[in-house]
Symmetry: C2
């Protein structure tokens, strides 16, 4: 049991410390959690007329996040948020999460506590019950693997494989801000400023990177509209997600560069860096807006429903072809260029 590694018995105290009294009984009760953390498994209910939706996502220290860009609370928050986004992209309601962490020797309880603080901040914001997990020792790396379980009305889940020729392509939020925030943090790393110090003008970009807000409400509105054909979340960038829909639905997609909304802070930041925001929009990723398709005659109704809820909606292109899988962009000169099948890579 030597060398300060976690032992199985220490694990219980550690888990208790990290998880006890972090969520209201009301939340657990509302989600029908009859056995939570503390037994071999959790027990809970899903609503009648609903199906289970299940997904998992891992983050590795030094690969998916870095100490000079993410504070510990951000690591926790964003790891769960990435999972929540997978529920949003199905039109599902997130309900339960299980947290698996692997912790090296040198990792302090203090850091762990802050990471869990971020996890619970996101969980409480999205009304998700943390019902279990596993804490293991690792030799060198810190790793966080989360499984999320939600529910969706039977046979209503929104897929990426159901886009049709003639559909309009939409997004539910501006893109590229998370990648610009990350770019700012990498630039700042060259200085000696604390990672807590972010000038007010770029704070929105950095917050988008560190504490993204997945689009659960937009997903639910899209599902209830009965109009949405295909849906994806934009975790790996617009280009990569458009390719996923094209590949899965066997269609071609055409983006209109002129229609892509550019946030004011993104435009301003891009200017200070002498770059075009388009690269971040297409290839940046981690925006966690939704990308979807719907038939043209439904556009107005869906736009209205989203705007009524205070949410954004932009038509940015169309589904042009069947059988041929291709993603292109019509640039500002009227030229059609192929969009590269590349996404956000954590290297």
């Amino acid at each position: 049991v030597g060398d300060g590694f976690l032992t199985r018995l220490d694990e219980f105290s550690l888990i208790r410390m990290l998880t006890a009294n972090k969520q209201s009984k009301t939340l657990l009760h509302k989600h029908g959690v009859s056995v939570g953390i503390g037994d071999d498994a959790a027990v809970a209910s899903i609503s009648s007329g609903h199906q289970l939706v299940m997904s998992c996502d891992s983050m590795v220290d030094g690969v998916h996040f870095h100490r000079w860009t993410m504070r510990d609370e951000d690591i926790g928050f964003k790891s769960l948020a990435a999972n929540v986004s997978d529920m949003a992209s199905m039109g599902a309601i997130p309900k339960y999460a299980l947290i698996s962490i692997s912790v090296p020797n040198h990792f302090s309880d203090y850091r762990l506590k802050r990471i869990y603080k971020g996890i619970y901040e996101c969980a409480n914001l999205y009304d998700i019950a943390i019902v279990g997990g596993d804490t293991t020792a690792s030799r060198r790396e810190f790793m966080l693997s989360i499984t999320i379980i939600g529910e969706v009305e039977t046979n209503k889940a929104l897929l990426r494989s159901t886009a049709k020729r003639g559909d309009q392509l939409f997004i539910t939020g501006v893109l590229g801000r998370s990648a610009a925030g990350l770019d700012y943090l990498w630039q700042q790393q060259k200085t000696n400023l604390s990672i807590d110090h972010v000038p007010s003008e770029w704070r929105g970009l950095v917050a988008e990177h560190r504490k993204p807000r997945p689009s659960v409400e937009a997903g639910r509105i899209l599902l209830r509209s009965n109009a949405c054909r295909a849906l994806n979340d934009i975790s790996d960038g617009l280009a990569s997600e458009a390719w996923e829909i094209a590949d899965a639905s066997h269609v071609s997609i055409l983006l209109h560069e002129n229609s892509l909304p550019i946030a004011a802070d993104l435009a301003a930041y891009a200017q200070t860096r002498g770059k075009s925001p388009l690269d971040w929009i297409l290839y940046g990723g981690e925006d966690y807006s939704l990308l979807g398709t719907l038939p043209p005659h439904q556009v107005q109704a869906v736009e209205k429903a989203l705007q009524h809820a205070g949410l954004e909606f932009y038509i940015i292109g169309e589904v042009t072809d069947e059988m041929k899988k291709e993603v292109s962009i019509l640039d500002q000169t009227g030229t059609m260029n192929r969009v590269e099948k590349k996404g956000y890579h954590h290297f």
Copy 2:
């Protein structure tokens, strides 16, 4: 994207290679899987009148397994088996699993394929649909995190917190064989023999360590008996699991050394090593039998039901006290000794 790390786009081909056509459509259909691997999340149903049961468990290369004791197929098989055992210990039926792996640069596709082969071997044996997962790069360590989701009749799950004074303590299989198998493999490591070479007399011990068979059927029989009070799986050894029941149920537990069954191969192996098998039985772990309690008047009926299914059943002690949490063992001289609160540690 450099240095041969997995990229997000490579990930799709890799996952396809590892998971395509590994399970029958019948299995997926039977479990109501309407969306499997390939979208942002999987969609499936649970049976009416049932609750969800959820659990996760991780294994880290060099911490939970070693190259000189476990072949790649074993790593995959056992990682899922450990999760299946958590379902067994609740009396639940395992249905779905999500596989999250973190893979360093130098890890070959060949090894990954063999690990997945073991995962699917276990999944198909226990009728579990692999419905999702995540594949990420790590910098140095190989890690496997699995979430398992099952179902149990509403309000019927078997807990560890419900033992009562006067209950008899039982196990559903002999203990200590996995730990003895591991001991053999560590001894063999000092020689130059291949890890595939195991003499026939110790093959059973080694198989118990590498490919344990969780006790799903026993758990289901115990649940249906309506007699079982508390239940745990013996993943961390008899001592540790008895302590878990004592702590969670606020009771004392007395083990009878004379009642502990000792397998013939375990006894023979212990003799060659000049050791007592008791240490492996109490502190060895990874046996994946079940440890539970039930009222004395129910013992005969439960024993009969298990034996009818060809399963084992041994009474090994009793619940002696309420309020005071303690685990003791009555040794062969009639002396009562405190059982240490220690379990199997992977170090």
